[in-house]
Symmetry: C2
Subunit: 392 residues, 2 copies
Amino acid sequence: MKNFNFYSPTEFVFGKERENECGQYVRKHGGSKILLHFGSNSAKKSGLLDRVKQSLEKEGIAYVELGGVQPNPHDSLVYKGIEICRKEKIDFILAVGGGSVIDSAKAIAMGVPYDGNFWDFYSGKKPATALPIGTVLTIAAAGSEGSGDSVITKEDGMLKRGASGDCIRPKFSILNPQLTCTLPAYQTACGATDIMAHTFERYFTNTQEVEITDRLCEAILLTMIKETPRVIQDPNNYEARANIMWAGMVCHNNITGVGREQDWNSHGIEHELSALYDCAHGAGLAVIMPAWMEYVMQHDVMRFAQVATRVWGCQMNFQHPEVTAKEGIIAFRRFLSSIGMPINFKELGAKGEDIPLLVKSFGIGEGETGGFVHLKKKDIENIYTIVLNASL
Amino acid sequence: MKNFNFYSPTEFVFGKERENECGQYVRKHGGSKILLHFGSNSAKKSGLLDRVKQSLEKEGIAYVELGGVQPNPHDSLVYKGIEICRKEKIDFILAVGGGSVIDSAKAIAMGVPYDGNFWDFYSGKKPATALPIGTVLTIAAAGSEGSGDSVITKEDGMLKRGASGDCIRPKFSILNPQLTCTLPAYQTACGATDIMAHTFERYFTNTQEVEITDRLCEAILLTMIKETPRVIQDPNNYEARANIMWAGMVCHNNITGVGREQDWNSHGIEHELSALYDCAHGAGLAVIMPAWMEYVMQHDVMRFAQVATRVWGCQMNFQHPEVTAKEGIIAFRRFLSSIGMPINFKELGAKGEDIPLLVKSFGIGEGETGGFVHLKKKDIENIYTIVLNASL
């Protein structure tokens, strides 16, 4: 096991109707005048935003509203948010929405106290400080409510890049599974795929003997395999929604990834798809992740056989472990298809002729990526080609 | 799933030689003059205390030493610690040791800013504030390094009682698995048993449909079943030590228990044994926990069958689930015996004639305990009687 630090100081406030307490938690964590950041009109229409405002007003917390965050959030709104926060002397940001809203809030939070361009943090610079943020989560997917990560798309060139730092971990996050019951099945399935992908990206590692982290990853995957079909069938199943929502946080606050190398290449390869086609991140992951697995499987057949037997319930083929390993990948792709996810370029709405552009945009030139298996330009192209032709 | 809050703001600093950084973490978390709290001479002899002092001195942090914490820590040393902290204007407590030292530090931390007797917090009162504490952990067992709990024994009457509160969660905890390699096999096994018990106490619940928490519990148990025999056989197996040490924290910071009722009766029933005989807490749990399981199994046979199949690898007997349920309990007792734990009164050094005293001391009178199965005086007596006669 490698040395590591694990620091997840977020206060999680979980359960029915807990958004009505958000004013108290803003107060507890030091906010007095906040930026109320949200996305489309759904938070307004559903009455959620009104309940949040009531709770804030009850605590005497002033707020300035900034809505309009889009999926795959853009830098233009971040600049606007930073300007508002400085002008209005905002001391806390409350994000009401999903991963996109929270990631946008994190970008603003880093930008406000920073002299330079906030994009520096999405180009490798580590943030030293940020405004405190809190969240009211409305979709189980990105895990941003419990993570120190944020992903933003730069409109100039449609570059989708990430930033990380403990200072952008939320002070509190309110998770009410009821808020996710109105999500369409497609979005629900995209979120579930994202959660599983966050787990797999941590599962495939070259660091040996980290059994506890393997087992925690498997705990998330087994939960998702059980609960996701239930919410696709019955969107109002609170218990299943609750299990998925908590799994989404646990898997991405990094307790499922400590002590070893991780591999985030599938996320990187997917980001090019959602940047180019503006497709849902989860849908992009659904096509990329099994293809990446097929492509790298030979690197550690026993690890793939382990997940096939422990998670997908395959019988171990002791004479031919690669058969079991492959069965696990097939089971994953079938599962994704069964919950309504695309499995190839056509189903996603992507085009084979764009592959050269996607590879170029991935931006490693003649270099290579790190991770479980190092990938060069040709490998990225091969993975997109597997996706192009994938079938059940 | 029940509504819950989960708040684990401790910074975990994990890995080889990390104790050499303790000065930096004391500084980072606001300490300038500290109480250096520890137990017996082993921390001195091993050189650990010297390394800790060097790190403190390097950061210019002043310290006052208070050693002598015993297993099952007593209130007398807590009073002494409170007095020293007040007199010396201590602003941070660093506990170097296992659960006993950390629990003693937590008691002192609560007592310093409190006007009344610190024992109030061990009699049901909730602490509002406490001095900040940090830890350098030397044994994987109690989980106190990541929990908001503390257990102290009052010498007058040998009452062993617990206190809880977020304010006593450590600011940081340094976990170096190397420090546990010198532990004797018996103490190692006691620690492992404690970790498994902390998981089981959360596993047996009447709250249905909390799959994610079930799975996280099972992740801990599967890890312990794999890794414990390896460290008993080879005390210097760093990887196995590391997995156990991290599992001990994860299982007791309560992420394995959120969203549902828990049952801590086995801990309560055990506390009477370690208070009366001063035996190791883990050894006491080894005899109590399987006996408690046998006694309450009929309350939810399917839950016991679930753990038997998922954790102990038993084949499910679909016609007679109670057979599988029982097999899981037998497997647990055999496992405990295989790592050198006692399984009955004789092996523990307890006496059957003390049962009436143990039952009386448990202190529920004509009332009952809460939890998975409510227990009355007669039930407690029956459980001790199962232990008296237990065999493999």
